[in-house]
């Protein structure tokens, strides 16, 4: 199984830019109504564990919060690669650098271009490692924060967001052409413009490369969906 974990991938933006490879065979919006805030680490932790983790993850220490494999659906797989996954294997250094630059941007110490450059560099690093891992594990889960990180400072600038969605669409297309496996594309939350900036919304996204028949699934429902898919694959 392949999971493309795309931070802030927004269902309306996928439709707006006609990203066919991201949409796959079945796609839709996720139901995040049970969450008070759309916090990235909380949502990925809830996706991984199948439980609403909002109350258990304080905002002050959220980026360092780390689950054990046996608390997550990763335990259903004999071998897995979880690349840069929040609440599990987040690359602390890379994301810290992005947050420091974000702060410096608002303090007028760096330009948006300097911030973007670091985000894109981290993205390219993950992309390399993700495609190296494809086909070598029962599950490859690759996390990409491009839409979130670029979106926070530039969601209101269409040219930039189109480039982001084209890039993510390209990754999905390449995955589709190189594996014959279940592919789940999923985001933690969506995004909306605030002037030139971008804020988290409840327009989360999911898609599968086969019909699963979901209707507005909660992000915590995927734990059991993944468990069932693994069972079906094992039995035949």
């Amino acid at each position: 199984m392949i999971i493309l974990a795309l931070d802030a991938l927004d269902v309306r933006m996928v439709e707006k830019y006609g990203c066919r490879s991201l949409m796959q065979v079945e796609y839709g919006q996720t139901d995040l109504s049970e969450f008070e805030l759309e916090r990235t680490v909380v949502l990925w932790a809830s996706f991984l564990t199948g439980r609403n983790m909002e109350a258990e993850i304080p905002v002050e220490t959220q980026w360092e919060f780390t689950l054990k494999p046996e608390e997550t659906f990763l335990k259903f797989f004999e071998t897995y690669k979880a690349l840069d996954v929040p609440a599990f294997s987040l690359k602390q250094e890379n994301h810290k650098r992005e947050r420091v630059l974000l702060k410096k941007y608002f303090d007028d110490e760096v330009s948006v271009e300097e911030y973007d450059e670091t985000v894109w560099r981290n993205h390219e690093e993950n992309k390399r490692e993700f495609f190296e891992a494809l086909g070598r594990f029962d599950l490859v889960m690759g996390y990409f924060d491009l839409a979130d990180a670029i979106g926070h400072l530039s969601f209101g600038i269409p040219a930039k967001m189109e480039a982001v969605y084209r890039e993510l669409e390209g990754i999905a297309k390449e995955v589709k052409s190189s594996v014959d496996d279940v592919i789940l594309v999923i985001s933690d939350h969506g995004m909306k413009p605030v002037g030139r900036y971008g804020d988290h919304t409840k327009n989360g996204f999911y898609s599968f490369n086969r019909r699963v028949g979901l209707n507005l699934p909660k992000i915590t429902e995927f734990f059991n969906i993944i468990r069932r898919l693994v069972q079906v694959e094992r039995s035949g």
Partner: protein, 72 residues
Amino acid sequence: MPKKEYVNIRIPKSIYEKIEEEVRASQGEFKSVEDYVEFVLNEILKEEPEETVYTPEEEEEIKRRLRSLGYL
């Protein structure tokens, strides 16, 4: 109206000659090479930069949200 001040600027002769042709072809719309150059440069300079579409209120709102989401 105050009289316009002018400065001299050097451009390649080949461009000057092409502009002369354009001026001729314009059949009186441009009176001279200077007139043509001034028009074209004005057009370029009045194009607005793409990235100045935010207000201080929006910046404050996004900072507040990014703080509560744990980014700042």
